[in-house]
Symmetry: C2
Subunit: 271 residues, 2 copies
């Protein structure tokens, strides 16, 4: 049997009692931390809390060799991951593969950046459109899609949650500042290509959210030109770009995220 | 100090270790279960697990009297809720109110229907557009917005997560069947109003998801005309309406959710 178990948002205490209970009775516990990383903890602390040895797998061992799936044919096995086990990963495919091989599965969910960041941003979850992710640029790799997704959401009067790249193997975690610079650079490239009427510019209201789920949470709302020079501290970071604000959303951003009172007067369309 | 603590998806074992630890050291623990309900448990079982008495508040006590906020001026207090404490509720407003009154706050997130249902549906989370909710119809209250949100998402090639009404005080929890009937009835009304070209009809592919986070999870994908007569069992239910499917998404729906192999051939636009 194969369990996919989410450790939740931030550290070794975000796992559910249900997850803990299951882990105590398994034959093997595997972990992958290349699709997400829990900054408030270490593999040793996780082992201590669950009272078990954990075998850390790298990407090849997970995606190509499926070591844990092979074990699950004979044994009771878990793959543990940060956040929710089915978000921002390809783990649904393991459920398909297990089914084909006649291996029973169970998913034990965890708190996820998707719902937590949407909630803590103060924006109404039902008003978010498609999420997007900003990747670290590379040779000839600088997709415009994150910018265009935000713009399309704004046209649909939908907020956007913007996730930022993590490259655990290179110890690189994109900051809010880098993410906002990326968006403005896309704007510049589109301008050079002749596009007009930009919905995301230095003047656009954005919300920087750092370390959701930790005591050291930081939320700051302001114009991109302001946030781009703010220090949000250590990872993980993400960004929300609001569309038209309801009164309660504006009040939250003013009271909790330090936004200027003037955002109320926008009445409150972000473009 | 005020803690907003999420109990997670389904029962008294979905709370995080972090939430448990905090609850043990507080002066008062309040709960509200009118914005969500944990079907796998009871207030007594929750009290047993956390080792504390819990005061159950009704809507008026939470939203108008803010009993827990008044207590939090002097004492360390928690408000516990199903799911994530900031999703599908108005709880962000309590953070604003607490800030105005000088009360410190901390949010302890939980697993949420938003991320869990998106993940377990087998659809890629980054391809979901705006979520929508179907309400129980009432005298002169039969909004078309859920249908129109799904249609708008499909036009944007985005999946839709459809939450279904819960009226805890009346012990009414909308079923997948009722939700799908609602959508077809909206289609009929729009047809009568002269609208043409419907993107959601009896032929549309849908996914019924029941009891996410419990061992008794049920997922079934098929045409609305098929699902509408399926028995999904006890609450909670929700629905996903896919847009164009990627190969891995189609494979999941076939292997895990019993969809017909033909959905692969759709190549796979849902309209």
């Amino acid at each position: 049997m194969l369990y996919l178990i989410g450790l939740g948002l931030s550290d070794h205490e975000d796992i559910s009692l249900k997850g803990m209970k299951v882990l105590k009775n398994l034959d093997f516990v595997y972990a992958e931390f290349f699709t997400s990383k829990l900054f408030g903890t270490s593999i040793e602390l996780i082992e201590e809390v669950i009272g078990r040895d954990v075998v850390l797998l790298n990407r090849m061992e997970v995606e190509e060799e499926s070591i844990f799936l092979n074990k699950a044919k004979k044994y009771n096995v878990a793959l543990i991951t940060g956040g929710d086990p089915l978000i921002a990963t390809t783990h649904t495919q393991f459920l398909v593969e297990a089914k084909k091989q006649g291996i029973k599965t169970e998913v034990i969910h965890g708190s996820s950046i998707l719902s937590a960041a949407e909630g803590i941003s103060g924006l109404q979850p039902y008003k978010f459109g498609k999420i997007t992710s900003i990747p670290f640029p590379d040779n000839n790799f600088f997709p415009h899609s994150p910018y265009l997704t935000i713009e399309n959401n704004l046209k649909n009067n939908a907020h956007t949650l913007v996730l930022l790249d993590i490259q655990v193997d290179k110890d690189r975690f994109m900051t809010i500042n880098q993410g906002l610079e990326y968006l403005l650079k896309v704007r510049d490239e589109l301008l050079n290509e002749g596009k007009e009427n930009f919905l995301v510019t230095e003047e656009t209201l954005a919300i920087g959210v750092a370390r959701v789920g930790s005591k050291d949470l930081k939320i700051k709302a302001g114009k991109i030109s302001d946030l781009i020079n703010s220090d949000f501290g250590s990872p993980l970071h993400c960004i929300a770009i609001p569309s038209e604000l309801q009164v309660v959303e504006a009040e939250y951003l003013i009271a909790i995220a330090g936004a200027d009172e003037s955002i109320k007067l926008l009445k409150t369309k972000n473009f």
